[in-house]
Symmetry: C2
Subunit: 317 residues, 2 copies
């Protein structure tokens, strides 16, 4: 038996600050059409895929911030993407900044959605691990104000049971910095997730430890590959890449097998599609054996992971 | 400031079934002397370093099992190793099978110890993640009866505050299969561990999924490197390597920096020493930044990791 689905990792090159959402959606549609022509059942786009990565700037007013957010999905500028997905009968994963008007007020999230081939949103995730800082820090070459502009997601790490390419599977989502934390993959893995979509915008330059800038690509793949292997799941990592408003963003979008192997990867820093045929049944090669959780995990020794945030001082205990 | 200590990863080649502990200790002492001559403050030996990897055989009687275990440490056959360590003023990490007579009876553990330059045992760890199986399964090319011969460790993952090479640091231990589980490193990392010693005996052939045999070396380094990077700690991974009684054991013992980079590695399958100068202060490059736990971890979303062993069926919830 096999449950093969064809997935496209649709990397985006830079989006300039003044590039309109309509112009970006044209780029997304072009990649979606290529994905369909290459047999894809689903195409995955990056995090915050509709605009430039705006948390690199400090904005004085909330209005200036809010203009980067979507109030509805689909909205007037994104409807064309949904229409094209329905016409092509292709699913997609998309990251965007979400302004949510809810009963208790207005909320801002770094969000992704999973959309089926009927253009129906069948899953939503709101980013948990927000990186960066909350205050204006003009000493940085560019800022990373995700902790200022977004609230932490309030859905946890949900698993979505749905059909892609005619095969029922269990799918998860994460965004950017989430991928560095092994807890992300494990919480998804414990829910039986077989494929996780992870969009990212990752500056190569990290202001606080620039001595590691040359390791960004290594750390990206190391985290994605370990997360895939240690949970026996497919990983689809999709970058916004290239020189975006003076910030060089990491590329190397890739699809990773449950063995941890990179099976396809982008090799430019522009709009580029990498595709792979992913058999969801292969997850069991790992999950039924070396990472058979039921046989081998020892959760009563893991308490600290949930009990403490920053760690404990063992000298005091 | 820096806290540089010189560490030797002392890989062992195969130990035959009929090789005596005294003969093995001679090999360990030779590696220890080389380590000292190359400036090492501490030398790390593999898991179950005193005998062949005996869980590959099924033994009918408990007496046959117990003959592979140490009843005291140091004992008559291992005293020479401690004496030499004291003479050379070098610390060591050593894995062995421990038969412990305790108030509630006799226990069997897969154990490691941390020994200071005065030949005093300053830390003990008993393996948590026991791989393999409990029953005789003669269909396998060789067996892996760790779950039969050992009890699960009862110390959790302790952190040890001690001085190595004149520098105070926080050290942890793990053994073999522990290294595949991100929980191992995280529980140590949350206690501020700066360097973890991990001995292993890893057959290249895995009976239940032989289609992955060619990936053993990749999976070994992937797990070690991710664990090091994601917790900003040094990792010292030490193999028993080579063709041992017909079972090919993985080599590639290595030391990994808190950046996840392999900084030294063995390149044979025999007795071989690889050394590195490890600055414990470098952990903060990672731990104060991208993996600043206090700033960025979100433990209230990690509940499943501690609440469930085998996972949950999200269709039912």
């Amino acid at each position: 038996m096999s449950r093969r689905i064809i997935i496209g990792a649709a990397q985006l090159g830079p989006i300039s600050r003044n590039e309109s959402r309509r112009a970006v959606v044209v780029r997304l549609i072009e990649l979606m059409r290529e994905a369909r022509s290459r047999g894809c059942d689903l195409v995955a786009f990056p995090e915050l895929a509709l605009t430039t990565f705006f948390p690199r700037w400090y904005f004085e007013s909330q209005d200036e911030v809010d203009c980067w957010f979507e109030r509805e999905m689909p909205g007037p500028e994104t409807q064309a993407l949904f229409d094209e997905a329905r016409r092509l009968a292709i699913g997609f994963y998309l990251g965007y900044a979400e302004l949510a008007v809810e009963s208790d007020g207005v909320h801002h999230y770094n969000t992704s959605i999973l959309v089926n081939k009927h253009a129906e949103i069948i899953g939503k995730y709101r980013k948990i691990h927000l990186p960066g800082h909350t205050e204006n820090e003009p000493w940085r070459r560019f800022q990373h104000l995700e902790k200022r502009y977004f609230e932490r997601g309030n859905f946890g790490f949900p698993a979505f049971h749905t059909s892609i390419g005619g095969h029922q599977g269990v799918f998860g989502m994460a965004l950017c910095n989430d991928r560095r934390w092994p807890e992300t993959y494990r919480v998804l893995g414990l829910q039986g997730v077989e494929m996780t979509f992870i969009g990212y915008n990752t500056p190569v330059h990290y202001s606080q430890a620039p001595e590691h800038d040359h390791l960004q690509a290594f750390h990206n793949h190391l985290s994605l590959q370990a997360g895939g292997y240690q949970n026996g799941m497919w990983i689809v990592g999709v970058a916004k890449a290239g020189d975006e408003e003076g910030s060089e963003l990491l590329g190397q979008s890739c699809i990773i097998a449950p063995t941890g192997e990179i099976v396809t990867m982008c090799s430019t820093l522009g709009d580029e599609l990498a595709t792979a045929s992913c058999d969801l049944d292969r997850c069991s090669e790992i999950r039924d054996n070396v990472f058979n959780f039921e046989q081998h995990r020892e959760p009563d020794t893991y308490g600290l992971i949930c009990e403490t945030k920053g760690g404990v001082d063992t000298l005091k205990t």
